[in-house]
């Protein structure tokens, strides 16, 4: 029998449902892959082997009893470690939550498990999902399976690396400013950030509450459709989740895409973009054109990227995004008070403010401190109007640009990141340079739109190049269908790094 870890989630589910493979057999195959590759990649914070085997045996027992194993029956998955689970720890890769055991399970996770998925473990991230390389992890940096001297992207770097290295069939991540799409691009996998409100955020540790969304990282577009269908839907525990029917995303993939209009935002194709990525996306536009789609030039003026004489980048969208995200973060992370849960300093404190301040100083890493401090500052008296209120107005302008663009096209074709995976240590010393790695993904969160990253080939250096498809709110079907069209026409799919042959 072929290696079960090479199958997509959908193929594995079919094999298990047909009795051609066992859930336990598949789970053991993945645990074996983790044992072999994890020392080089460091994708997992925690592997829950015993529990996974038990879950898999339960799936096999259900199938033996004649029950249907479920939409993800026996499929081994990984969870970003900012998704709460009553089992294992939920650490957010932060020292402040190093021993935290959540009292409830995130709705998206519960839905995966109800569909028969087997949870292999919790994956590494930039602390509290704040970062674009997974180097801000309080545990250790994750390595890119395509080149272990390079970052996997972030913040869902552990999930993306685990999917690419065949250390899980699929994974969940979260995306506040690109944290699913950018690591998916760096690791050569598919990542979908659904529309804000499409997936319940209940049990997702909050970072930027008006931006955060949970979504899948997978080997191909069908699996992204499959997992999104399982986790989407209204949840009374998240009042921002939208009471709206969940379409059959998998069935929607095969609907014809006649007359598809693909928009190219002029502002994104500038000197800021790596020429090889530019070329790959130009090629992708040609693939759409050959498939009968119409290519439309559109404009997103407030998402434009400026390059000064010294080559330094700047962007309204980056400024707007970081003001909003940091303001929300400073408020959300006020809950780490060393009283209810989380790290408390071992030193004796005279009063409660000292207890807060010292415990937080010991528990948070540098990037989290920077974001809390900047958020606190921009919300403070005298600065609120100049920063926070101004950013909310610019956010409206950014969204208006997308609304106008979608009057002329069905889906936008964009880069995911200005470069392919960069080297560990390359950007970590300069936070602003790291923030500018997000120039093509953050506007999508500000506007609440669905965005999907999929592989568009490899660079001359053998690193994955990603491309991004963005649709109007709740048009996941359009985005997925456009992604499938490219995937089938180009044959670029299920990219495997050399590391998985070893």
């Amino acid at each position: 029998m072929s290696d079960l870890t090479e199958l997509t989630a959908l193929e594995l589910r079919e094999r298990i449902a047909a009795g051609e493979a066992g859930a336990e057999e598949a789970t053991r195959a993945y645990l074996g892959a983790i044992e072999r590759r994890e020392p080089a990649v460091a994708a997992y914070n925690q592997v829950l082997a015993d529990r996974a085997i038990e879950q898999a045996r339960a799936v096999d027992a259900r199938r033996a009893a004649g029950e249907a194993p479920g939409a993800l029956g026996g499929v081994p998955v990984a969870l970003k470690d900012n998704l709460c689970t009553t089992y294992g720890r939920t650490t957010c890769s932060s020292k402040i939550l190093a021993d935290f055991r959540a009292p409830y399970t995130a709705t998206a996770v519960a839905r995966l498990e109800q569909a028969g998925a087997v949870v292999l473990g919790k994956t590494n991230l930039d602390e509290f999902a704040m970062g674009s390389s997974t180097e801000n992890s309080g545990v250790a940096p994750t390595r890119n399976p395509w080149a272990t001297t390079r970052v996997p992207g972030g913040s869902s770097g552990g999930s993306a690396a685990a999917v690419a290295a065949r250390m899980c069939a699929a994974a969940l991540g979260s995306d506040t400013g690109g944290s699913i799409r950018q690591p998916a691009a760096f690791c050569g996998v598919v990542g979908l950030k659904p529309t804000y409100g499409r997936v319940s955020r209940y049990g997702l540790v909050a970072y930027g509450s008006s931006l955060d969304q949970i979504g899948p990282l997978t080997r191909d577009v069908s699996d992204a459709a499959l997992l999104t269908g399982v986790i989407a839907g209204h949840d009374r525990r998240d009042s921002t989740s939208v009471p709206r029917d969940v379409p059959d995303y998998l069935a929607a993939l095969d609907a014809p895409s006649d007359g598809l209009r693909v928009g190219l935002p002029a502002e994104f194709y500038s000197e800021a973009l790596d020429p090889e990525i530019h070329q790959a996306i130009h090629h992708a536009a040609g693939v759409y054109e050959n498939a009968g789609a119409e290519i439309v030039d559109v404009t997103l003026p407030h998402s434009r990227i400026d390059v000064d004489d010294d080559g330094a980048l700047s962007s309204y969208a980056v400024a707007c995004y970081y003001i909003v995200a940091m303001a929300e973060a400073s408020s959300n992370l006020a809950r780490y008070d060393a009283a209810h849960y989380g790290h408390r300093t071992a030193e004796t404190c005279g009063d409660i403010v000292e207890l807060y301040s010292r415990s937080r100083a010991e528990g948070f890493g540098a990037e989290v401190k920077r974001r809390i401090m900047l958020g606190t500052y921009t919300l403070s008296a005298g600065y609120y109007d100049a920063y926070y209120d101004k950013a909310l107005k610019v956010r409206r302008l950014i969204k208006n640009d997308f609304d106008a663009a979608f009057e002329r096209c069905d889906v936008l074709l964009c880069p995911v990141s200005p470069t392919t995976a960069f080297r560990l240590g390359e950007k970590i010393a300069d936070p602003l340079t790291m923030y500018l790695a997000d120039i093509y993904t953050i506007s999508v969160n500000l506007a609440g739109l669905p965005g999907l990253s999929l592989p568009a080939g490899l660079s001359r250096d053998g690193l994955p190049i990603g491309m991004q498809l963005v649709g109007p709110v709740f048009h996941e079907e359009t985005v997925l269908r456009a992604a499938r069209l490219y995937e089938q026409a180009s044959g670029v799919t299920r990219l495997a790094p050399a590391l998985v042959q070893a």
């Binding site: 009292p103 409830y104 009042s239 401090m373 403070s380 950013a391 107005k393 969160n445």
Partner: protein
């Protein structure tokens, strides 16, 4: 709107944020926060006169529920991660006193 951030201001922000800062952190953060705030200042180039601020991307509505008791955490579950507890209470140093 170029902001000069001096060490005292960084310490003040640290205090508001309830994060104790070492002298070395004050030095590093001063430089980094100044660069980031300067980039934030770019927004001042844009005319936003008459633009409605947008706090959320998707229209939000109040969600009302009937006032009925539902499932909740038991005291033991709620206290399971507490750094210190005293019976059914979270234990902390004294709150009222000479702190500001």
């Amino acid at each position: 709107m170029s902001q000069t951030i001096d060490a005292d201001r960084v310490r003040h922000i640290g205090k508001l944020s309830r994060i104790e800062l070492s002298d070395e952190e004050v030095r590093t953060f001063r430089r980094q926060l100044a660069a980031i705030l300067e980039h934030f200042g770019k927004l001042q180039e844009l005319d936003t006169e008459g633009v409605e601020p947008m706090a959320h991307a998707v229209e939000l509505h109040n969600v009302l529920a009937d006032d009925e008791p539902g499932e909740s955490l038991s005291p033991d579950e709620a206290l399971a991660n507490a750094p210190a507890r005293d019976g059914d209470f979270f234990r902390v140093p004294k709150v009222i006193g000479d702190s500001q």
